[in-house]
């Protein structure tokens, strides 16, 4: 078959003959792309977006970092490299840490575990057979016997074979064991999640709401390389099991200055990314970029002032920060990718309504995925875009 190479090339030319009017910049066919003349949609610019640290100075001014780290160096890296650095640090500093999952030994399908097997050996960093229920259950046992396993599920869409292990075992281990004190804290289950434009039904999902219904789990979703590194290190150190969902489109798209040192970020604090007076937007993960672009346009167009909060830890979540903000602004919008029905937005909105009802000037608005599956060609209509967030701001302040 090797001899056929020239033919392929010839065919390539043939294929290319009728030039197709594709956007010059897009490498692959974008099944879900913004309209060519759009002003709002497609306006997320990762190079300049204010929620990433584009300079070392802004990276080091983060008050959550310890003093030593703030006096240290930074490096411009993307999110998968930040995950890799966190895993590397954990493996280096704690011999209880194990890293395993499907295809992780060669670096993983998203490159998060690059070089870890080579540097730490395949006793601690290894491929598992293709079985999510097996590998997650394996992690539970290892954690219960004192290790700190970081198990990777290749895509959040494929976590469900291990749902029983997570919901019935991981979450209930400590409670069930009573005064024996045995638990599976130290267990982290990492998984890439979220939409990328062409993932359709099974490479797009963000199933966080299925885990936030389960007491005993901590659910964390980082928005950036800095956050991913610090939150993942905290998750590994945490004595509760953590579901760590990494927005996979950000693996490469989100690049920023990240402290070189290891550092830990809190697992019980939301973060106010931008202060504002008129309306609070609560979100997490990729939609924060959508929100940031929408806020820029809305503030310019309507002269309003919008506060943006990253929930970060989706469960248990920081009610105080959110309620304080909403009590101040009197208006709230919750934005997430996954379906609106029984989603995180429902929980946040209900809590705001219960605890801040008299301060509310408008109903709490949810901008979320619609009650359907993410069909390949329809992602752009289903996942919240800049326009929908922009419009939600307008509707909420005009209410």
């Amino acid at each position: 078959m090797a001899s056929k190479a020239p033919t392929i090339r010839a065919l390539t030319r043939y294929l290319l003959r009728p030039p197709v009017p594709l956007h010059a910049r897009c490498q692959r066919r974008q099944y879900s792309a913004a309209a060519p003349g759009a002003r709002l949609n497609g306006s997320v610019e990762y190079d300049t977006v204010p929620i990433l640290n584009h300079t070392s100075k802004s990276a080091l001014s983060n008050p959550e970092l310890p003093a030593e780290t703030r006096n240290g160096q930074t490096k411009r890296i993307n999110l998968y490299t930040a995950v890799n650095e966190a895993l590397r640090h954990a493996l280096q500093t704690d011999e209880r840490v194990l890293v395993f999952g499907e295809d992780i030994q060669f670096g993983g399908v998203f490159r998060c575990t690059m070089n870890l097997a080579a540097d730490f050996g395949t006793e601690r960093v290894f491929n598992t057979p293709l079985c999510e229920q097996g590998l997650v259950g394996f992690a539970v046992g290892a954690a219960a016997e004192g290790m700190r396993p970081v198990a990777e599920v290749q895509f959040a869409d494929y976590v469900f074979p291990s749902f029983d292990q997570i919901h019935n075992e991981v979450a209930k281990y400590r409670y069930r064991s009573g005064s024996t004190g045995v638990n599976c804290g130290g267990l982290v289950i990492r998984m890439p999640a979220g939409s990328v434009g062409h993932g359709a039904l099974y490479h797009t999902q963000s199933p966080e709401a299925l885990f936030t219904h389960t007491p005993g789990l901590r659910v964390v979703i980082p928005r950036s390389p800095t956050q991913a590194k610090g939150l993942l290190l905290s998750a590994i150190r945490c004595n509760d099991p953590v579901i760590f969902m990494e927005p996979k489109i950000l693996y490469r798209a989100a690049v920023e200055q990240v402290p070189v040192d290891a550092y830990h970020l809190p697992l019980d604090k939301a973060e106010v990314l931008k202060t504002g007076k008129d309306v609070t937007i609560i979100s997490y993960g990729t939609p924060l970029y959508t929100c940031s672009a929408a806020i820029a346009a809305a503030e310019k167009d309507f002269g309003c002032s919008v506060e943006l909060i990253d929930l970060r830890t989706i469960y248990p979540w920081d009610r105080e920060t959110i309620l304080n903000s909403v009590k101040k602004t009197g208006r709230a919008i919750v934005v997430h990718e996954s379906m609106m029905n029984a989603g995180v937005g429902a929980e946040v909105a209900a809590t705001i309504q219960e605890k801040a009802f008299l301060k509310l000037e408008a109903p709490v608005k949810r901008v979320a995925g619609w009650a359907t599956h993410t069909g390949l060609m329809f992602e752009q209509f289903i996942i919240p875009d800049v326009t929908r967030v922009y419009d939600a701001i307008k509707q909420t302040i005009d209410y």
Binding site: M1, L16, P36, P129, L130, H198, L201
Partner: protein, 463 residues
């Protein structure tokens, strides 16, 4: 039957005598082995164990752990050697010349479609693709030995099953482009084909989930075979990779298939890799075939590069699957994944280029059949050249036509979740439509069949 239940029956037998032991005295003679009442474990001088969990085991005084690694590997069935020579001339190939030619042409067609679609993805004209290189014989050969009414469940590397059953190039291309003519309504990623007419269920990306489905479908077929005795008896066939066979669903499927004795052929494509994971990280037994015995299922390992072996094995599996009212069969088809896992994968990050080159040179289902055809004087270079050029043109024509089609109607984003749209969904559609109307520049709906009308219809259509 639970152990406790068994003990209760034994007790009843002691008290009431043998007659009342079973459901009715008239059925004593017909009761299968496992239903017959047994005494306690054994008598002092019995040679056989009578524990309910292992009825045919002999006693032994040797402490001998079974060591699977010390046993001979399960042999691999072949009809034709690498040179295209038939090993048992008496049995021959059990294939008419015409059929062999048709199969050959389909394998070539599949490989050409793969080359072109892989290239098309590299050029940004498709978002994703997966090739069958090295495994064309498994899908096309097995499909050629089944009845068209048999029900198939695939993983994703079995485009050959679709092709052999009559899926047209335009059907493939419409799905790959997820255009308005795609019968998946633009919802699925490329290569997730499905066809009701061809009795192939639509592919799910979630590995191994189709294996228990196949067992259940086979049970439905078993019942229907009994209920409609005049119709052609049907089996279910299920394809999956050796990686997928590590999933719990595989175990659940084969075990229930055995206990319900369903007419299902489980076909494992063992191509040596699951993305980057070599079989040595996937399992430590003798492939997937060794598991068949564990489930009590008739099992065969086959050389997947030998189209005649694939066909004979599948035909015989089908016959077996339909004997005694139904029984599952497992076939492990051996191959090598010549291509990258998918267009998202660069396999040279985890395997040597020479390993792949070696394999390509060593053996291949297409060249092996070509050798045989040439030996029979059924094929020559001129025929090959003509076939390739004609097929290329056909593929490219279908490709260009599909690329020109509109995108499917936006209504398909919401329909089909439930049988009918819910009130909640209708509200979501209204909200979405309202946003698109107020921000027309932000959305390109005209590329979708019917534009906004797709949504209007949904909102209007009251339950």
């Amino acid at each position: 039957m639970s152990f406790r239940y068994m003990l209760r029956r034994i007790w009843i037998k002691k008290v009431l005598g043998p007659q009342s032991c079973l459901n009715g005295p008239g059925r004593v003679a017909e009761a299968p082995l496992w239903q017959r009442c047994r005494g306690v474990a054994s008598t002092a001088n019995a040679e056989k164990v009578l524990f309910p969990g292992a009825l045919n085991s002999q006693f032994t005084d040797k402490l001998d752990f079974m060591q699977p690694s010390e046993q001979n590997a399960i042999p691999t069935f072949r009809v034709m050697n690498q040179l295209g020579e038939i090993i048992d001339k008496e049995i021959g190939v059990e294939t008419e010349n015409e059929e062999a030619l048709q199969i050959y042409k389909n394998m070539v067609k599949l490989s050409i479609m793969d080359l072109l679609m892989f290239e098309a993805q590299r050029q940004g004209r498709l978002s994703f693709y997966m090739v069958s290189a090295g495994e064309e014989g498994i899908s096309i050969g097995s499909a050629s030995a089944l009845h068209p009414s048999d029900v198939a469940f695939c993983q994703y590397r079995e485009a050959g099953v679709y092709l052999q059953r009559g899926f047209k190039l335009s059907d493939f291309m419409n799905q790959l482009f997820a255009n308005a003519k795609d019968n998946g309504l633009g919802r699925n990623m490329p290569v997730h084909y499905g066809s009701k007419e061809l009795n192939i269920h639509t592919i799910s990306s979630t590995l191994a989930t189709q294996i228990p489905h196949a067992a259940g479908a086979a049970y439905a077929l078993k019942m229907q075979n009994i209920q409609n005795p005049d119709q052609e008896k049907r089996v279910a066939v299920c394809y999956f990779g050796e990686g997928a066979a590590s999933e719990g669903d595989f175990h659940g499927a084969l075990n229930i298939a055995a206990t319900r004795q369903v007419p299902c052929i489980f076909i494992c494509r063992n191509n040596g890799y699951a993305i980057s994971t070599p079989t040595s990280d996937q399992y430590r037994g003798d492939g997937i075939a060794s598991r068949g015995a564990g489930y009590g299922i008739a099992t065969l390992r086959v050389d997947g590069n030998d189209i005649f072996a694939v066909r004979r094995a599948t035909k015989e599996a089908r016959r077996l699957a339909l004997t005694h009212g139904g029984q599952p069969v497992l076939i492990e088809m051996m191959a090598y994944r010549v291509g990258h896992h998918s267009t998202s994968d660069d396999s040279f990050a985890y395997r040597q280029r020479v390993e792949v080159e070696d394999w390509k040179r060593r053996d291949n289902p297409i060249t092996r059949l070509r050798k045989w055809l040439e030996r029979q004087s059924l094929w020559d270079d001129a025929a090959e050249k003509e076939l390739r050029s004609k097929t290329r043109k056909e593929v490219l024509k279908a490709f260009e036509e599909a690329e020109k089609e509109k995108k499917p109607s936006i209504r398909h984003a919401f329909e089909g979740v439930w049988e009918e749209l819910t009130a909640e969904q209708r509200e979501h559609v209204s909200e979405m439509r309202d946003v698109i109307r107020r921000y027309p520049k932000e959305y390109d709906v005209e590329g979708f069949e019917g534009g906004m009308r797709g949504l209007d219809e949904l909102v209007r259509k009251k339950a």
